[in-house]
């Protein structure tokens, strides 16, 4: 559910919504959600001073029971 919610939130604000994918990795200290976006959209999902990335983290953490980490990467870095 978290990955799907995050994908919806990210896809709704970027110029290339079809390029958005979210992968979930289980880590010892909780889940890691890895958000892949089109290279042109990376600045937009991070935002000035990381403000937008923080907003995604705040909303997703509110929906999560456990600790969640979110990383943003562009689709070229796989």
């Amino acid at each position: 559910m978290l990955a799907q919610a995050l994908e919806h939130l990210v896809a709704g604000i970027v110029e290339h919504p079809d390029d958005v994918t979210v992968r979930t990795r289980q880590q010892r200290r909780g889940q890691l959600l890895q958000v892949h976006v089109h290279p042109d959209d990376l600045g937009k999902v991070i935002g000035r001073g990381g403000r937008t990335a923080t907003a995604f983290r705040t909303v997703v953490s509110a929906l999560a029971d456990d600790n969640v980490r979110i990383d943003f990467v562009d689709v070229d870095e796989r």
Partner: protein, 172 residues
Amino acid sequence: MSEAESKSGADESAETVGSVDLRLLEREGDIAADYLEGLLDIADLDGDIDMDVENDRAMVSVVGDGLDSLVGTDGKVLDALQDLTRLAVWRETGERTRLMLDIGGYRSRRKGELVELAKRAVETVRASGESESLGAMTPFERKIVHDAVAEAGLRSESEGVEPRRYVVVMPA
């Protein structure tokens, strides 16, 4: 075409609130509602979405019980979701929006509390003749306090640096 349809049709394109295009504000509300409904569906949360135009802004409210998680401590989650919703609107319209989001009635309750707080500060300042500083608030909250103080006939200013900026109520 029924009368109702003709009213919401071409005639309305010329209708403006001050300098603001009402149709743009309604469109902003629709885009925001789609974005938020998608999130509610995925998160399996129940909420109805109301749309309104208030003070030349689109106002979108998610109404329902069990939405506390989307409000968060001091409305932090709500503010984050409002930022994201504004970005979603911006992508579709190409225009910056001042859209306000409310969830579970948080902002309207908070507004009532802030107006009461402002009234009490005005009484204190009137009695003492000295300025009084209030606690740190967001820009939206400060605006509510400034308006309430002005309504009561006193002056106020904001001091300090974000996010610790606060209102000072001053004697007449």
